[in-house]
Symmetry: C2
Subunit: 349 residues, 2 copies
């Protein structure tokens, strides 16, 4: 346990820590006192049928959603919906390697948490804490899309609509290898010390290398070519790396990145139906808008399109965006309009 300034309300705005008790994990391990960091907007209606769940992406928190996606001018309108953003386990805000006071799971001892474990935890949170047993929609990007698919397959009766953005139901072999490269960059830093560092600053070089891997995969070849960093008020490619990407990732907790990276690697709804992806996706009853991003380097649209084919009530809605996967951060002025248009249509159906 150590203090990391990044994971505080000062940086992320207010959120609530909600205990859901003992969480038995898919692999047999246990989190005795699992706490989820939660932010909500809007109010649950009397029928309790207006709740939208948003799970978070790799390194992401509730903050990105509040800043860009949620508001009366957006499809995710808190005047109509009760919006619950749940930070994934291990993301640094919910129970995580660096913030838990349970020594048995601290730092390098943090157990393997699966996408399924997060969804089980979220279902319990919604039911026991908010009295929500049916979701108007689940909306998530990247690892949030993995959780969205997990919800729709695991709890088909509870999910009316689902919008997985820039993510897959079954992690691809390429993505597995990509995530390994991301983790290699961190764990190869001698300062990582097998997860038993004194603070994230001991792992600074590894975290910066990790950022540079994101530079080539999170953004697209064309984003760099067209110098779209100018829209972020950056003045050069190298400044974009050194003053934007590297500091962004260098602030994070290394064990948190590893916990999330491993979770991402093994995201796969097929395991819920004997490794049969078609059977798993075939049991989804939600209306699903599958929303890949056109220039995504590692969740290519064709992979998402192939999964959409296996879902009974799905439509493919490709988001055209030059930023690639990091389009999720709402860099381009044409991004949010597309998200709002598709989500608006999904919510109206």
């Amino acid at each position: 346990m150590y203090h990391n300034d990044f994971y505080t309300p000062e940086v992320h705005g207010p959120y609530e820590m909600i205990g859901i008790g003992r969480l038995d994990l898919e692999n047999g391990e246990v989190i005795e006192n699992c706490e989820l960091a939660v932010a909500t907007r809007g109010e649950l209606n009397e029928a309790k049928d207006n709740a939208i769940l948003i799970p978070t992406w790799f390194t992401g928190t509730h903050q990105a959603w509040l800043e860009s996606y949620i508001g009366p001018e957006h499809a995710l309108n808190p005047e109509k919906y009760f919006i619950v953003i749940v930070n994934q386990i291990g993301n640094g805000l919910s129970t995580s390697p660096h913030n838990t006071d349970d020594e048995s799971i601290a730092m390098s001892k943090f157990p393997f948490v699966s996408i399924g474990d997060d969804v089980v935890a979220q279902e319990r949170l919604l039911r026991e804490h908010f009295g929500v047993t049916e979701l108007f929609a689940v909306v998530g990007g990247s690892m949030g899309a993995q959780q969205t698919y997990e919800w729709a397959v695991r709890f088909p009766d509870k999910v009316k609509r689902a919008a997985p953005i820039a993510g897959t139901a079954q992690n691809t072999p390429h993505d597995y290898l990509f995530t390994q490269v991301l983790m290699d960059a961190v764990t190869s830093d001698p300062g990582f010390n097998d997860g038993e560092y004194g603070s994230h600053e001991d792992v600074m070089e590894g975290l910066k290398r990790h950022a540079r891997v994101w530079a080539i995969m999170g953004l697209s070849t064309e984003w760099w070519k067209q110098e779209r960093w100018r829209a972020l008020e950056l003045e050069s490619r190298d400044q974009a790396v050194r003053e934007f990407l590297e500091p962004t990732f260098a602030a994070l907790d290394p064990n948190s990145l590893i916990a999330m990276g491993r979770k991402w690697q093994y995201g796969d709804v097929a395991r819920l139906r004997g490794d049969d992806l078609a059977a798993a996706l075939g049991q989804i009853t939600a209306k699903v808008f599958v929303m890949p991003i056109s220039e995504d380097m590692f969740f290519p649209a064709r992979d998402c399109a192939a999964e959409a084919e296996l879902i009974p009530n799905a439509e493919l809605r490709v988001i055209e965006d030059i930023a690639g996967h990091f389009a999720l951060f709402n860099f381009e002025p044409t991004y949010m309009e597309q998200i709002d248009r598709h989500l608006g249509e999904l919510f109206a159906s």
Copy 2:
């Protein structure tokens, strides 16, 4: 200087070491006694107008060309052409950090060699050693394509035809960053010791990480998805990484990878014409077939197409191949037929 088994005729087949004397480098440094490792096939005709030059790619040697591309059944037919394959400086066979007996440039002291330096060296070799002052064609893949463009821009009167495969005349910002990630993987290994390791085996972990970066960028998302490693008689994704990619790169000399990586980063014909890419490409008189590979993750076809637009006598010939950049290794049965068809047409023009 240390002995590395990989860089021997036992592994690469016969090649000749040809000294070209003192090479003054673009950045002001010097290689006092520059030796190029050269393999040839076929005979120079009396008119001395049937010579084809092939420069090598990152980590590549003459061997890949001899094994797959050259023969009486191929467009690169030694019964018609005098084919000269020149290993690039720093590739481990030509003068390189680990094999030079000039202490002033050994290991970490190896100077920055540019794409232009290689082309100057090759021009001297051809003229002084082989009496060749005009090239029927230059053909090169990846960093060999960078050298091919450099030839066509620097010596327009000497190059009749050019076939840059899977490479660009001006390195892209994304490629610059990608190459940095490749180099990071090696230099971050404490065993690298700023280039003063005892043998490449000291840098084994870094070389394996380097291999895993190639896994996600050298091959395509779709190659992994369709499990095309089966065609290489591998039995799983992880076996493809551990028993094919990792050993392939772990055999190499780390300083050699860095020398080539830096060279790649700065490949740019525009510097020959005051940083004006259009002016530089506009002075090419050769007939050029620009040949990107459809699934290439880091030399995307659109980048090559944009350059083709700037060359007076160029045609875009996209090679359709699921392997991505590593299509160059002739993994897929449909690859060489396309190469032969396009090169055959270029050579007949």
